[in-house]
Amino acid sequence: MSVIEGTSTTPTTVEQPSWRRQLLGFSVIWAIVGAAIGYAVFHWIGTKIAKGNLAQTTSDQDDVAVLLGLLGATIGWLIGLGFLNYPVSRMLGRPPSLYERQEHGVWRYFRLCTDHKVVAMQYFVGVLFFFFVGGMNAMLIRGELTSTHGSFIPAGNYLTLVSLHGTMMLMMMSAGVIGPLGNWLVPIMIGARRMAFPRIEALTLWLTVLAGFVLLGAIFLGGFPTGWTGYAPLSDQARAGMDCYLVSFALIGIALALVGLNLLVTVMTLRAPGMHWNRLPIFVWSMVTTSILAVLAAPVLFAVLFMAMLDRTVDTSFFLASGGGSPFLWDNLFWFFGHPEVYILALPGFGIVLEILPVFARKPLWGYRLAVAGMFGVALLSFMVWQHHLFVSGINANLRPFYMFTTELISIPTGIIFLIGMGTLWRARIRYTVPMLFSLAFFFNFLIGGLSGVYLSDVPSDVTTHGSYFVMAHFHYTIMGGLVFALMGGLYYWLPKMTGVKLNERLAKIHFWGMFVFFNLTFAPLFAAGLLGMPRRVSSYNASLHNLNVFVSIAAFCLGTSMLVFLINLVWSFLVRRTPAEPNPWLSKSLEWQLPTPVPVYNFERIPVITSAPYGYGVPDAPPVADFGPPGIAPARPAIAPEGGTA
């Protein structure tokens, strides 16, 4: 086994610790214990600090104590996982702990591990778990809406459900592609052995998982009523569940910024020789643009959440009009993050489908450079549109034409993605595999999502639809119809390589058709509900909308069932009938598919020399994508390969 890049003095392998060490060493169990101790200690300190403060102690819950407790829980969680082992041993002058570099064994998956493939699988399981929690919330919401005036959930709990669903999905889906697929694929696709900062990579994962649990903790602290947007001053009224929202979203903000930074540095510095920028797989480009958004937008989120924490604890009045602040401050800062966030959710989807299309169309990606330009166009414009969320809020009316213009401009780079897809399919030889079906469904759904966005971008039309179910249907078409369909396609495409296990195709097809049909049956009628005047986030609505809502609820339950088929497929394929996957079942030309399955710990025996772009389908005498370097012989400089895949 070769040495880790750049650290040639480090031992090449790490000894397998004994089972006792496995059980008692730093792991997720100790992380939970650490979090509990941290919460208790800091909560106690918080109650001492808040003693005598009337605003805190006369309420039923003490925000100072809860916020400090959650901070303590975060610190305890990270110590329990062993994040301090390395810096502390370095500070004490001891040899650094290489515990997290352990190379074999199932235990790696239950603790801090810096192998990017392990982190990616941990991300996959974590994100999937919280995705299903968020999905269960959605099922309960739809159950409640089968009656016009609330059926079985008290109104306060209903708002908490809506808020949990929205926040959980937004948080987990922003990590949903960049976490599992980004961390797994980017190093391999660029011919590297690891991410630039493996420990930061692991940190983002454990912060994301903790954020999910902290958010669920809101249930035990009275819930929170604000939805995922957390508008002040409603958030200032809310009980201590709001603190869980603030802390969990802040943790996600930190994780997003760090994961973006890590990916950017990785792609900039760790590309294999010959991996020129114009040979970079389109998925890597989508991760680069997503990372730029994450790095620039997430710190603003953190700042605005911190201001809300101060408003709730030390009685500042950033967002209180009566104290000289303004609710618009929250709105603007939140959406300055919130709109790039929307594209943090969209761009990875573009990358996945454009990566899958050429493989099953058996054609090169059409217009590679234009696709990259389109992604950068989306990324750039996404910072200039945020006030379209505030068209009727009473912002300076002079600004509205500008934001209408920039918002409509964004449909040009988004349209490019459609053109690339259409060009790639031109005279193609399409094979209808499950990833391809999901990719085609992506275009079907995302087009509806995009065109409904045109109504919302136009100020006069937005007056009709703003704050109604039309908006809700619109962003579910873009995020669920777009990103989640792309993610599912990506998972069916790459999971066989990531896990070495073949997924059951029959179940996969049932999953796809169920999800596609019932997704559209659920969300298309909601456009109508919005146009007929149903506001978002209500538990009681006009009696004339009853039949429509019952129909949507039934469709939503079927949609939920189709997601269960996915879960059943995972259980069936991984636990019941385990069939090993072939190294390259899709006959793809991408670098990752040329590696053996399962991929070795350090990915490449020797760092490969990239000889062509990964989309050389149908190109006569196309060179192999990379020279993996025969052992013992220094890889020769490659002959100059045709610059494939460029428009």
């Binding site: 009523p225 009727v392 704050g467």
Partner: protein, 291 residues
């Protein structure tokens, strides 16, 4: 679409003229569905073309966007549908397609077409916004798009609070009532504000939507043109009973309005004396931790 046809011209002989076929299918489907969208679906698009000036403006632009969006939607769907049906590989063998890596002509044509559409939409939206008195949307404290008769408009203050709308008529002694009556065919200017958290005043049939933000005076213009009732809702999440923050407003004739407001003035005279003086914004003490 001519660009796609151009691609075909360079295609190999013996291959069917896919571009022409796609264009023909699209033309037929568009010719059928665009009139359907305009004349069958269009009249049902909200808010309504007859209840007020604002609702008519919004209705018109909603129909227009639908008429413009339908051909775009159909073009992409027809293309994908055709590609999915015709460009498929039957049987198990894996065959590579032609290695076409791009076509600058098509790319430029596409960019030009989408840019034209987008610029047209933006110009149209802006013209509508300024030409039509803000089309019923909240314009903030200093509106720039005003109706011609803005100076004679009847001022009504809309106050949102958890979870109730109240209305003050400063022209009638500043009375505050939970009922909203509007005289027909008279310009109304709503001043929307809130006492606690963010709300959004949504008079659905009138096509008025303006957020009620504490410490902000949000102005919206509308001229009702039909005697009728209309739904009032809250369109911004405002806490526990957000969904119940509804009310029924009435557009009545001028004489009915006069008799109603006189009756209210007399009935509420005692209450009005206790009210804080009329102001565009109010700063009540914040309610914290009310659950």
């Amino acid at each position: 679409m001519s660009a796609v046809a151009g691609e075909v011209a360079g295609g190999p002989p013996g291959e069917p003229r896919h571009g022409v076929r796609i264009f023909a299918i699209w033309a037929v489907v568009t010719a059928i569905l665009v009139p359907v969208m305009i004349w069958l679906v269009g009249p049902h698009l909200p808010p309504s073309d007859s209840t007020s000036t604002a609702s008519r403006d919004q209705h018109e632009i909603n129909v227009l966007l639908t008429a413009l969006g339908t051909p775009v939607l159909l073009m992409v769907w027809v293309y994908f549908g055709y590609a999915a049906a015709v460009f498929r590989q039957r049987g198990p063998e894996v065959v590579d397609g032609p290695p076409i890596e791009g076509n600058p002509q098509i790319q430029i044509t596409w960019l030009v077409v989408t840019t034209t559409l987008v610029l047209g939409l933006a110009v149209l939206g802006t013209v509508d916004l300024f030409g039509e008195a803000g089309t019923g949307g909240g314009e903030g404290p200093a509106p720039i798009a005003k109706p011609a008769d803005a100076s004679s408009a009847m001022q009504i203050q809309v106050i949102g609070q958890q979870w109730l709308w109240t209305f003050r008529y400063p022209g009638y002694g500043g009375i505050e009532t939970p009922y909203l009556y509007l005289p027909v065919n008279r310009e109304v200017v709503f001043h929307v504000t809130s006492l606690d958290v963010d709300h959004s005043f949504w008079a659905y049939e009138l096509g008025v939507k303006a957020d009620a933000i504490p410490g902000n005076d949000n102005v919206a213009y509308v001229k009702p043109s039909q005697v009728r009732t209309f739904q009032i809702r809250c369109a911004e999440l405002c806490g526990l009973w957000h969904g119940h923050m509804t009310s029924i407003g009435r557009v009545v004739s001028q004489s009915d309005f006069t008799s109603w407001i006189t009756q209210q003035q007399n009935k509420l005279a005692g209450v009005t004396k206790q009210l804080p003086p009329y102001s565009l914004i109010y700063y009540p003490a914040p309610i914290r931790r009310s659950g």
